[in-house]
Amino acid sequence: MLTVSGLTVEYPDGGRGVAGVSFSITDGESVALVGGNGAGKTTLLLALAGVLAVKAGTAAVNGLSYSHKDRAEYRRLIGLVFQNPDDMLFMPRVLDDIMFGPRNLGMTERDARCRADEVMDELGISHLAYRSPMKLSGGEKRMAGLAAVLAMRPSVLLLDEPTAFLDPRARRALIRALARLPQSKLIATHDLAFAGGLCGRALLLSDGRLRADGSCAELFGDGSLMDECGLEAVPHTNGEVSL
């Protein structure tokens, strides 16, 4: 479970990233984080992951707050999938990238390899194990990045624009994979059809503030609210993703 209370992040130049954001996500729940460009979605995800310093407020995963002392355990519980998978794939082979986290957790080579094999099986990317990340397609890179995070067995997944750069086929494959994952998910996206299909609930962020928290159907259909937040209303998807 992810609990966020009054979270405020300021940039070093004094600019506001997010201000007083509060919400919670229950176990296994998928929540979309939507908002126009510059609304603070990525900033919020980076702060939740402990990458950006928080000025005020708290975030806790399963009751564990981010602190200097507990940061290693906190980071194990929360997994962030970056918008650009190239930022996450830095090892010579996909297998090494997936084993990178488990190795750092102190797992033996054998256990780390087992963990990597399990994750690759789950996502159906075992055939990519010995490929260089630089030579993968956009969709394959996305899946490899997701696998690298899942290998840490996080309780909460934060995904930043997961459908960016994906063609329809890769997008469908990603949706299927995400729908099967048991973790709680907070998904920052502009892709409202994707959000409406995968998530029952959405958080609407505007100018660093949480403007609304409700069901996707309710929020995405509210033309004036969406317009105010720099988004466009979409018809209700009835919880179905067009695959």
């Binding site: 290693a72 996450m88 830095f90 010579p92 990178f100 030579k135």
Partner: protein
């Protein structure tokens, strides 16, 4: 034109090679590191004028290239990066030492020329040992092994992050160069001096931003100063034989001036 999708100029090629399965790849990584270090020390122990005596050490890169399918062109490209530094270090000798040592036909060979050639050969040999080590051993395995033998963690971390930053910098440079060429009017057009400053500045800012994100991704997956320490791996008899062969032959070639013996032999028979 080099495509945006082309892998980084050098690093990934070496990385790809390091994942191969040749006889040298199968040698214990620690043994390979000791061999590379021993060869570097032996090569550096030659005096600056011992150009000819160092020549037999070319055997190691030649054999490694031959039996491990390492493309010579890849090593040559990398060596060319080190060459200007070697030339710069050696060129002052041409001026400072003009004493003629011997004549090659009509050409007088001075002490400075010999020293310059010696410095260049020494540099190229040492860089080639390091490159071959990287081409036959995955980099993470090298750093894990360094941690296992208690090399200070901060040193290993600096090495790891520098290595990753080099790849990031090369990627960003390639993307920037492609974008520039696409609007420069001609594929062959170089960077105009007026644009060079902003391009280089932009490159460093972009690569620093990207490096920040890569660093964040590493930390989020548990990377810290301790890093990954290699698990103990038994050294086989084959590894010991390899170690003895490389270090033993290196020591022999250091002690015995083989080219001089060879020349003496020719002189005796002629």
């Amino acid at each position: 034109m080099r495509s945006l999708k082309t892998p980084s100029i050098e690093t990934p090629s070496i990385e790809t090679l390091s994942m191969g399965d040749s006889p040298l790849h199968r040698v214990h990584p620690g043994v390979k590191m000791v061999c590379a270090l021993a060869l570097i020390v032996l090569t550096l122990s030659f005096s600056r004028t011992s150009f000819a005596a160092m020549l037999p050490f070319l055997l190691y890169p030649s054999v490694a290239i031959g039996i491990n399918d390492i493309p010579a062109s890849l090593l040559v490209k990398r060596l060319l990066v080190a060459l200007p530094f070697a030339v710069f270090a050696g060129i002052t000798n041409l001026v400072s030492d003009r004493e003629v040592l011997f004549r090659l036909g009509a050409v007088p060979v001075t002490g400075g020329m010999s020293a310059c050639a010696g410095i260049m050969l020494r540099t190229l040999l040492c860089v080639s040992y390091a490159l071959i080590l990287m081409a036959v051993t995955p980099f993470p395995e090298i750093t894990a092994r360094m941690r296992a033998i208690h090399i200070p963690a901060i040193f290993v971390q600096v090495l790891e992050t520098t290595y990753r930053y080099t790849g990031t910098l090369a990627d960003e440079a390639r993307a920037l160069a492609t974008a520039y060429r696409l609007r420069a009017g001609s594929d062959d057009a170089g960077v105009r001096l007026a644009h060079a400053g902003s391009l280089v500045g932009g490159l460093f800012l972009r690569s620093a931003d990207r490096a920040d994100r890569v660093w964040a991704a590493m930390r989020l997956r548990g990377y810290d100063l301790r890093g990954v320490r290699a698990e103990p791996k038994p050294i086989s008899l084959r590894d010991w034989i390899f170690l003895a062969a490389v270090c033993g032959s290196g020591a022999l070639m250091r002690i015995v001036d083989i080219p001089a013996l060879f020349a003496a032999g020719i002189a005796r028979f002629s």
